[in-house]
Point group: C2
Chain length 338, copies 2
C-alpha cells in the first residue's frame, strides 16, 4: 500500500480510502491511485485488514454430512444468503461424531471465523452447558433446547401432521411410517412421528404399531429394505409416510419391484422436498421444510449477534430467539395429486 501511495504521490491513507470506496476522494486522486494499483498489480492484504478490524467476514457452517442431499442443498442456500450479506462460509463436516462436534464448538475448528451456525447430531440435551459459549452461535435442528441460544428449526411436527392429513384426505387409512427412531426421544424422527400420530388421532384413526417401521440411516436403500419387510410381513397398508425423501425414493423403488401401483394401490409422501423428488417417476409428494427461510434466518440471526459488541455482558444481550420455519405441502403424483 505504501508502494502504491509513493507511486501515486499520495499517502497510504488515501490509497486505503480509494480501496474502501470512501466517498470524499477527489476524482483525480482516485484515478491516480487506481492507476498505481493497476500498474503495480497491488492486492489488499485481507489478513492485515482482518487483524485491524477484529473480524474475518468468515462464518462457520457445521453440518453432519455434506453428502446427504438435504444438507448439500441447505449449504447451498446458506452460502447464497451469506454472500448476499458480504460473508463467506467455511463448512465443517462433523459426521455426527462427538469429538468433531466438540471441536467445532471449542477446539481448533472454532478458530478464525466470526460466528457459527451449527446443526448438532451427536451432542444432545445433556450437553447444554457446552453450548454456553462467548461467540456468536445459532443452532439448527431440534436436538438442543433450553441452551439459551438462537435457534432455527424445521416445523417437523406440523409438517408431518400435514403430510399425514394429506394422505388421510386422499382416503387412506392404513398409513405406514418408514424410518422411525423409537429409541430417540428428541430430534426430527421423533417429532415427525409425533405429527403422524397427531394427524391420525385428529381423524379418529387408531395407530397400528405394526405399521411403524424403525430404520436408523435415512438412505434410499433403507427405505427400500423397510418396504420389502413391510410387504413381507403381510400387514395391509394403503399409504407410506417416509420420514424423509431419500427413504421415500427407496420406498417407491421397492413398491415398483413388487408391482404395487403408486398411487393407485399405495400412496407415498416424503419429507424435505429434495430436488430429485420432482424428477423421479412417479414424482414424489413431499413437505418442503422452508430451507431457504431457515438459511436466511440463521444468517440474519448470526449477523445480529456478531453486531452486538463483543464485550456485551450476557445479561444485556438480546434474548435468545427461536424460529420455526414455514413449511409447505407439495402434493405430486405419488400421493394422487393431479
Amino acid at each position: 500500500m505504501h508502494d502504491v501511495a509513493r507511486l501515486a504521490g499520495v499517502s497510504a491513507k488515501t490509497v486505503s480510502n480509494v480501496i474502501n470506496g470512501y466517498p470524499h476522494v477527489r476524482e483525480a486522486t482516485r484515478a491516480k491511485v487506481q492507476l498505481a494499483i493497476d500498474k503495480l498489480g497491488y492486492e489488499l492484504n485481507v489478513t492485515a485488514r482482518n487483524l485491524r478490524l477484529g473480524r474475518t467476514g468468515l462464518i462457520t457452517l457445521a453440518l453432519p454430512e455434506l453428502k446427504l442431499p438435504y444438507f448439500a442443498e441447505f449449504a447451498d442456500e446458506a452460502i447464497r444468503a451469506a454472500e448476499a450479506r458480504g460473508l463467506r462460509v467455511l463448512i465443517e463436516q462433523t459426521n455426527a461424531d462427538r469429538a468433531r462436534e466438540l471441536a467445532v464448538l471449542h477446539g481448533v475448528r472454532r478458530v478464525m471465523t466470526d460466528g457459527l451456525i451449527f446443526s448438532p447430531l451427536a451432542l444432545g440435551p445433556d450437553d447444554i452447558r457446552l453450548f454456553q459459549v462467548d461467540f456468536p452461535l445459532v443452532l439448527l435442528g431440534e436436538r438442543v433446547f433450553g441452551s439459551g441460544n438462537d435457534h432455527v428449526a424445521v416445523d417437523n411436527v406440523a409438517g408431518a401432521r400435514a403430510a399425514t392429513q394429506h394422505l388421510i384426505e386422499g382416503g387412506r387409512r392404513r398409513i405406514a411410517v418408514v424410518g422411525s427412531h423409537p429409541d430417540e426421544p428428541v430430534g426430527a424422527p421423533a417429532l415427525r412421528e409425533r405429527g403422524y400420530r397427531e394427524a391420525l388421532a385428529g381423524a379418529g384413526i387408531a395407530v397400528d404399531e405394526a405399521l411403524i417401521r424403525p430404520g436408523q440411516a435415512w438412505h434410499m436403500s433403507v427405505g427400500a429394505q423397510l418396504t420389502d419387510e413391510l410387504i413381507a410381513s403381510g400387514v395391509a397398508f394403503d399409504a407410506v409416510f417416509a420420514l424423509n425423501d431419500a427413504l421415500a425414493l427407496g420406498v417407491l423403488h421397492s413398491l415398483h419391484q413388487h408391482r404395487i401401483k403408486v398411487p393407485a394401490q399405495v400412496a407415498v409422501i416424503g419429507f424435505d422436498d429434495v430436488e430429485e423428488s420432482a424428477y423421479v417417476r412417479p414424482t414424489l409428494s413431499s413437505v418442503s421444510p422452508g430451507r431457504e427461510q431457515i438459511a436466511t434466518t440463521a444468517i440474519d440471526l448470526l449477523l445480529q449477534r456478531i453486531a452486538e459488541s463483543p464485550g456485551t455482558p450476557a445479561g444485556e444481550r438480546a434474548p435468545a430467539r427461536r424460529v420455526l420455519a414455514e413449511f409447505s405441502l407439495v402434493p405430486r403424483q405419488s400421493s394422487g395429486a393431479r
Copy 2:
C-alpha cells in the same frame, strides 16, 4: 498474550514459545505459563498469527456443485486429506458459472487462502492465460491443458475403455452410451466416449451412432429419460454404458419400468462409483475413479507449491506436474458379476 505473560511473570515471547510447542522451554516455565493461560481463559488470536506468518492455513476448493454426489464425496475426501496435513478447506461453488469461476481465480473469492484447488467447468481451453496466476494453484479435471499448472485428473479414457471392455467380455455387442456431449470436444464426457470407441475398435465391433445418446445434465432423471427414448426408438441394445453413476441409476430405473431384466437382457455400468451404487438393486457396476488418490495428490501438490517461497521467479519453480489417477473397475450385479 501480554496479560498472560505478566501473570506468569515471563515475556510474551515465552508465552508464544509455550503455545507453539517450542522445545527449549523449561518445564517449570511451561507449567507457569499454562496455568496463567487457563486462569485467564486466553485464546490465541489466529488472525494476528496469520498476518505475521503470511499464511492462513486455509485453502480453497472450487467445485461446480456440491449437490452432485461425485463432488460431495470428493469434497469429503479433500477435507480429510487437508486436515491430515494441518490445513482447512474453504469450499466455493461455481455452479459452472463463468463469472463465479473468474472470481475464484481473480476476484473476491480468491482472497485469504494459501492456495486453490480448482475444478473448472465454464472456463475452458480458450482461457489458458487466466490460469497463469502467481499463487499456488492445482487444477482438477480435463478441461484446461497446457496452462502450465499442476494437474490431477481421472483417467477417463482408460476407465471408460475398461468399462466397455468389461461389457464386451460379458458377451455384449450392442452397447449404448448415455449422456454424451457431442458438441464438447474437451472434458470428461468426450474422453469417456473416446474410451468407449477405443474399446469397440479394439474388439472389432462397429460403432452404431444410434446407440450414442446425448444428454446434457448428468442427473438420474436424464438417464431415465434417455433410456426411455432409446427403448422407444426401437434400436436393439444389450448393454448400457452410462457416462456417470447418476445417469446409470436413472437407466436402471427406466429399464425396470419397462420390465427389462438387468443384467439378463441388458447389462449396465456407470462411472464414478458413488456410494449409492453399492446399495441399489441390482447393485450397479461402475468405474472407481480414484477419488481418494486425486484428493490427496491435489493437496500434496498444492502444499509443495505453497512451500515454494513466494518470491521464486517462474523460471526457478518446479515444473508443472500432471497426474492421472489410478482407476479400478468395480463389477457388480448390473453387469452380471456374481
